[in-house]
């Protein structure tokens, strides 16, 4: 038998390694935090890695988790060992098939990175609410608490399901375990073969559906037999715990690690015992050890096999001396007598205690902890043990939060720490783009794989996609590390970006005597004066050893740009002393080779140069005796904002949300909009600066800005009298602006520096072609002036909406964006559409947003980019689920229409008191343009004042609903993953309803939010995750599917290629009184394009026919009209020229040139065929019957 190796991997990989070995078919669908399991399986199969049977598992992507579960079900029925991976809502979608799979006793394992289910809010983070929701399906449930256990119990699940015939949910905590990197021992293929009994595989295959021995399954049964048949499976559940234990024992013999259904640790005579499962066990065990040392009689029971719940094994695992049990559930079941594990423990004790132990039943209390990856620390566990020793403990409690409403939370002694002195604990503050996390992962691997030490890494990201801070938490220990919580007392703190010193309390976690490494443009002799006072004080008080390195300088000299990661990593190893310096440097280079080797020699060379240059720049700072700085850390104050924003939003933004008590939280998930503006993240290095002398007022810069950080406003000249001296303006062009001045203004703290605006600016200087009407310039040189200018700009009143030529591109940009400063990626292709939509309709808009990028940059707290106008109006926004946005949005429309009918009825009933003219005008107002809408608002105001004057109950009721008389614009937003795949069934249904909703599909052609997995919108030949060898099939033509209905408005737009057409389409769609569908081309990081030129690049997408522009307007589909208008020209360049500018296509020509050639050829034929089809469509005459009219007639 070959030697087992130690590797440093994360939990997802630990699970997937076993699953890929033990499976023949793998059906997948992306969902955080489980996606990496499927991605790895797909990637391994793509390179031909074989399973235990010597064949390459077939990895198939489905349209949703429901589809994946059904495919698994089918595959199992016909005799292939099949698995899948999922989490959260994905698991919920699998439930119907899970009941079937269990009911048919089909052996399988689903690996679950357990994640919170969306309730009052979505959360991508870990808890057990998903697996607990699936516990009635009849599956065995096995919980893993650490990366090593994930690997081990995955193996035991795959083995046990075959013998028991009961399907297994193998789960572990999302992020905390799935994304933690730890050193583990991996099983080799011989182990896998030794664990899995061939006999049961053969029996499984014998049971498979086979026309040579036909059977009938999936029958419909009647009251006569259903019940008995349901009971027939009982013996299998009865046998399962024993089978699991047998495989656990075999595993122990083989590998040496022994597991039990319930593993007890602690005092043999413990009186207080905590029962729990999942990663929190690690923290509790540390607390337990500390308490045992103090002589306390405490214990911990780790639940491994949660279902079938083996009552006797559970009771026997408890010490007979136990008097008090605390059960911890990482889930919440509002209204239940207790959370699930608590209830099971209570039941088990009642049923089983007396048969095993004498004496009275122990007392049981239950608590919730760790929802949505809330930290669970040894101090919190200690608080639970403390509560158990109370005379009258809280029967139900929470731990880890401060509940000042129902007072359920336990008090936690924050001084309680179990961190051992011989464990090196390091935290690294980095910027998303500087490579800190990647280098930290490598550091963990270096130590884990080259020394006898154990190593752990866990990484915390923030809520923004662009310019986000990452914090890497690393531990290095002579013993295996099960500390399942963040480092909060660090012996090494590294700040990789100097700017964080001004915004974040990076030294908060530094232990006394710790080492502090700062990437600083200032040398050892000048850095001190540039630190905020509070940092100086901490350095002195904690006697920190303080070092600086100008990592940017080293990285730039090495040709690495802003990638300072290897420089900082080298300094870390030099200072931390885990390895001798020379060896450390050698190992860093070795790790760099492993990580970047595939990307070429020049990449390695530059990284090596950065490593070699690092130590020469590392300087120790002589710490003065006293703090002298007058600098303060920046905090946001949100002056003038609501109390909620000031007291809650700002706290969350400052990274202190953990401190907010329950009472600070809305009870139903309702938050204010208009909050992104308080952030002022100031992440750009360069910002666009306007040159009015050559500006032509085209407004393209504002039009394409993904972050609404460039604004345009015309105003009367007298406004300028109070303008700051640096405020620029020019004479406004255009009739409607005669005599007006105009300013193009950057929001310097909100700009991400993507440069898209400069790229699209058509005005070039006659003297130097590179100089345009807007040019990128270093932010620091302009920040102070532009801040003042922007403040002044905002104080200028918005231009009157009713006077703007809203049908023009320029006109739209005179309207205030009600979507601003989003946290989307710099250069995002989606957000300009969202912004345009809010400019046109935001003041009367209701948005239902499918889960995805748009729901994340739209609604990921602490803030939202959705904003309000001067009247306080703006989009009202909600995200239901990933799969249901179309139906959700339709629901908006149903309620609006119903309310409107009700209001009209009330109006008519009170017409005599209100005046017939007013009532008629209110009911009949067409509201088809801004002027009419403004007039209607006026009428509504008149109505309300009349109603209030009347004061009758009927009048006041109507007054409360009167605003519904102003036309509402319902928008359904989402990406292609939603529209083409998971949400297509619902979308398709909504298309047929003829109700007035507008659907905007932000089409990037991949699942952008989960990291670029292929969707049915992925074009042929593109490389994506789950399509690593290039997508073989043609992009689905969603637009034409909708056109086929005849009465749906459909448009395909690309605002970088034809902005006027995009504006036209948005306005036509909105004005069409039925269903409208807009497919909007959006470039994405996952395309592998330069995001700065991404918008301009859209022109080429249209030119080559890859993305033809068209509009289908059912209003023209009458009496032989031709409703389909082709808005782009015949393709005039080959697809390949376009494709080679995008890495998603070009990569394939490098990895598999033959296949690339074939797929590109097919893609060209797709384009030719599609164009031919569209050309014919453009001539097709239609006469669509308006069904409702016909019925009424």
């Amino acid at each position: 038998m070959s030697q087992r190796s130690f590797v440093t991997i994360d939990g997802n990989e630990a699970a997937s390694l076993v699953a890929h070995q033990a499976s023949e078919v793998i059906a997948i669908y992306p969902i955080t935090p489980a996606s990496p399991m499927g991605e790895l399986a797909d990637a391994w199969s793509a390179v031909g890695r074989k399973n235990m049977f010597g064949v390459v598992p077939d990895v198939v992507q489905m349209q949703s988790e429901a589809g994946a579960a059904a495919a698994v079900h089918g595959s199992l029925q016909v005799g292939a060992l099949t698995t899948t991976f999922t989490a959260s809502q994905g698991l919920l979608l699998m439930i119907p098939n899970m009941f079937k799979i269990a009911g048919e006793l089909l052996p399988t394992v689903f690996h679950i990175s357990a994640r919170a289910i969306a309730t009052h809010a979505l959360s991508i983070f870990g808890d057990h609410s998903d697996v607990m929701a699936a516990r009635s399906c009849g599956w065995a449930m096995l919980a893993s608490n650490s990366v090593q256990e994930i690997h081990d119990l995955a193996m035991i699940s795959h083995a046990a399901t075959l013998q028991s015939r009961v399907p297994f949910l193998h789960f572990f905590d999302g992020f905390r375990s799935s994304h933690e990197v730890n050193k583990i021992e991996v099983l080799n293929p011989d182990d896998v073969r030794a664990m899995i009994d061939q006999q049961y595989i053969e029996e499984f295959r014998q049971r498979a559906m086979n026309p040579d021995r036909p059977v009938l399954r999936g029958t419909a049964q009647n009251p006569d037999v259903f019940f008995q048949a349901r009971e027939a499976c009982n013996p299998f559940y009865d046998a399962t715990p024993q089978i699991v234990q047998q495989y656990m024992d075999r595993f122990a013999q083989l590998v040496g690690r022994q597991y039990h259904l319930f593993d007890y640790v602690g005092a043999a005579d413990a009186e207080r015992v905590v029962v729990m499962m999942g990663s929190g066990v690690g923290a509790t065990e540390e607390a337990l050890e500390a308490l045992l040392k103090q002589g306390e009689k405490v214990g911990l029971l780790k639940v491994r096999l949660y279902r079938p719940f083996a009552v006797e094994a559970f009771i026997r695992a408890l010490p007979p001396t136990v008097r008090s049990i605390g059960v911890l559930d990482r889930t919440k079941e509002p209204g239940a007598a207790g959370e699930p594990l608590y209830q099971d423990v209570v039941t088990a004790l009642v049923e089983g205690w007396s048969a095993v132990h004498a004496g009275t039943l122990p007392r049981v209390i239950g608590g919730r902890y760790g929802l949505s990856s809330k930290e669970f620390t040894p101090a919190m566990a200690a608080a639970v043990y403390a509560e158990l020793s109370q005379q009258a403990p809280k029967r139900h409690f929470t731990v880890g939060i401060h509940d000042d409403v129902t007072h359920l939370s336990l008090k936690v002694d924050t001084e309680f720490s179990t961190e051992a002195d011989d464990v090196i604990r390091a935290v690294f503050y980095g910027l998303g783009s500087d490579g800190t996390v990647g280098a930290s992962k490598n550091s963990v691997k270096i130590v884990g794989e080259n020394t006898p030490m154990y190593a752990q890494g866990y990484f915390v990201y923030d809520s923004k996609k662009a310019g986000s801070m990452t914090v890497s938490h690393l531990r290095f220990s002579p013993r295996p590390i099960n500390s399942s919580y963040l480092v909060n007392r660090a012996s090494f703190v590294a700040c990789h970006q100097f700017v964080f010193m001004e915004t974040v309390d990076v030294l908060e976690m530094a232990d006394p005597g710790a080492t502090f490494l700062l990437n600083s443009p200032f040398g050892a002799d000048e850095v001190w004066d540039h630190l905020p006072r509070d940092a100086q004080e901490q350095i002195i008080a904690k006697r920190l050893k303080f070092y600086v390195v100008d990592a940017v300088k080293v990285a730039q000299q090495a040709g690495m740009g802003g990638r300072i990661n290897t420089v900082m990593q080298t300094c870390f190893f030099a200072l931390a002393g885990i390895l001798p310096r020379d060896e450390a440097i050698e190992q860093i280079k070795h790790a760099i080779e492993k990580t970047y080797g595939k990307r070429g020699e020049s990449v390695l060379r530059k990284n090596f140069a950065a490593v070699d240059g690092a130590l020469g720049e590392l300087q120790e700072v002589k710490v003065p005796d006293a703090a002298t700085s007058t600098l303060k850390r920046h905090t946001i104050t949100a002056e003038g904002e609501s109390e909620f924003v000031q007291k809650v939003t700002t706290v969350m933004y400052a990274g202190k949300g953990d401190l907010l008590p329950v009472s600070a939280m809305p009870v139903d998930g309702t938050f204010p909009t208009n909050t992104a503006k308080i952030e002022k993240r100031s992440i750009a290095l360069e910002i666009p600066i306007w040159d009015p002398s050559i500006c032509i007022d085209c407004a393209m810069c504002a039009f394409v800005c993904p972050h609404a950080a460039i604004r345009i406003k015309p105003y009367a000249p007298e406004v300028l009298t109070t303008a700051p001296a640096t405020f620029k303006s020019k004479e406004s062009r255009g009739k409607e602006f005669e005599g007006y001045r105009l300013t193009v203004q950057v929001a310097p703290d909100d700009c991400t520096g993507c440069g898209v605006c400069v790229e699209v600016c058509p005005a070039k200087s006659k003297e130097a072609v590179k100089h345009r009407a807007i040019n990128m310039a270093p932010k620091m040189e302009h920040l102070e002036a532009e801040r003042k200018n922007y403040d002044f700009f905002l104080s200028i009143p918005d231009f009157d909406r009713t006077k703007v030529r809203i049908e023009t591109v320029k006109g739209t940009q005179m309207l205030r964006p009600l979507f601003e400063y989003s946290g989307a990626c710099a250069g995002c292709g989606e957000t300009p559409y969202v912004k345009l939509m809010t400019q046109l309709f935001g003041d009367r808009q209701i948005i239902g947003n499918a889960t995805g990028c748009s729901s994340i940059y739209g609604g990921n707290l602490p803030t939202t980019p959705y904003a309000i106008d001067a009247n306080g109006r703006g989009p009202t926004w909600n995200n239901s689920l990933f799969e249901d946005a179309a139906e959700f949005g339709l629901g908006f429309r149903l309620a609006l229409d119903q309310t409107r009918l009700y209001v009209e009825n009330m109006l008519r009933a009170q017409a005599s008191q209100l005046g017939d003219d007013l009532v008629t005008a209110l009911i009949q107002s067409p509201q088809q343009n801004e002027a009419e809408i403004a007039a209607q608002r006026q009428r509504v105001a008149t109505l309300v004042s009349k109603l209030q004057a009347l004061g009758t109950p009927e009048a006041l009721q109507l007054a409360g609903l009167a605003s519904n008389l102003v036309v509402r614009s319902v928008w359904i937003l989402g990406g292609d993953g939603w529209a083409y795949d998971i949400g297509f069934g619902g979308l398709d249904h909504v298309l047929t309803t003829q109700r007035d909703v507008n659907i905007l599909v932000l089409d990037t052609g991949v699942y952008s939010n989960t990291g670029g997995q292929a969707s049915k919108a992925t074009p042929r030949g593109a490389v994506a995750k789950f399509a690593a060898s290039g997508k073989p099939s043609r992009k689905k033509d969603l637009g034409m599917i909708a056109v086929a209905y005849g009465n749906v408005y459909v448009a395909q737009v690309a605002l970088g290629a034809n902005p006027a057409q995009a504006v036209k389409a948005f306005r036509e769609a909105e004005s069409y009184p039925g269903v409208s569908l807009i497919l909007a081309y959006a470039q994405c990081v996952a395309h592998g394009v330069n995001m700065t030129t991404g918008v301009a690049h859209q022109k080429e997408a249209v030119q080559c026919g890859f993305w033809p522009l068209y509009r289908y307007d059912p209003r023209d589909a009458h009496e032989g009209g031709t409703p389909f208008k082709l808005d782009s020209r015949k393709p005039s360049s080959p697809f390949k020229d376009f494709a080679m500018q995008e890495a998603r296509f070009a990569m394939l020509t490098r990895s598999n040139p033959k296949r690339a050639e074939q797929l590109f050829e097919l893609a060209q034929r797709d384009i030719d065929d599609q164009w031919h089809y569209y050309e014919q469509m453009a001539g097709v005459k239609r006469d669509i019957v308006d069904e409702m009219d016909e019925v009424e007639a």
Partner: protein, 337 residues
Amino acid sequence: MSIDLSTKYLGLQLKNPLVVAACPLCGEVDSLRRLEEAGAAAAVLPSLFEEQIEHEEQEVNKLYEFQTESYAESLTHFPELNNYNTGTKEYLDLIEAAKKQVKMPIIGSLNGASVGGWTGYAKSMQDAGVDAMELNIYFIPTDPQQSSCKVEDQYVELVAAVKESIAVPLTVKLGPYFTSVPDVVRRVAEAGADGLVLFNRFLEPDIDLEALQVAPNLVLSSRHELRLALRWIAIVRDQTKLSLAAAGGVHFADDVIKALLAGADVVQMATALLRYGPPHLSKLLEEIERWLTEHEYASVSQMKGSLSRGNSPDPSAFERANYMKALTSFTSEFPSA
């Protein structure tokens, strides 16, 4: 009596002096086969560019790193790279396939300007089976502080670096823009080159008047360009033992013959082959043979260099005087006003 067309270039015995220069025709095995059938004596594969290798590596790396490990849901955006290569693997595959399917010598080509890891590909090409290497040095100085001597040092360093990594012969393709071509030839020879290709045609960019952009725009060679090579080959022929290839403007049989007379061992052709196709080669060979017969030459080696500067009855014709003469004769074509 049959004429012996064979010649020796870089120590390789070639059946005739017609070598196909690095061009798209040499990028596919099928067309290499057709070139050989039509009479090509050797072929230089299209260049592998330093820029292509390093730029692509950097670009791919940049794309992979962009927005990576920034947001918890999308830690990466692309599948892990597998079998990815920035063109080098295809290149090596081409060499191997070419060596299997054609008999004529295959010369690999590297194009670049600075010593770097990319020169290591010379060794990979050798291992893949090339019979010789051509190093195409393409450097445009823009820094007024960089002296011509420094630029030439860089050339020499590069030649030495490539030479050191391979055992097969190395020929160096130079541009004509040196103050002293003979001196550069000497230094390149000392650095280890086995041959020279004179000259490289630097592809000059154009300006797009609509887009107001600088645009690359390939212009094929014209016949008059050969004059440049004729002069310098005639001059350096007597000063060096290196193999010499004339390149740039060799279109027809007359051009080939002139180059050989001046002292070239072979000619390199691309434009004419792109324009007239591989069969053009057989026509040329026929015509060369006819000329040699008519002029009573027994072999190509007999005529090679017979009109070099040293062998020319009027050496000064290759020097400045030539200019005056050409100018006079040129203007005399016009009727006087």
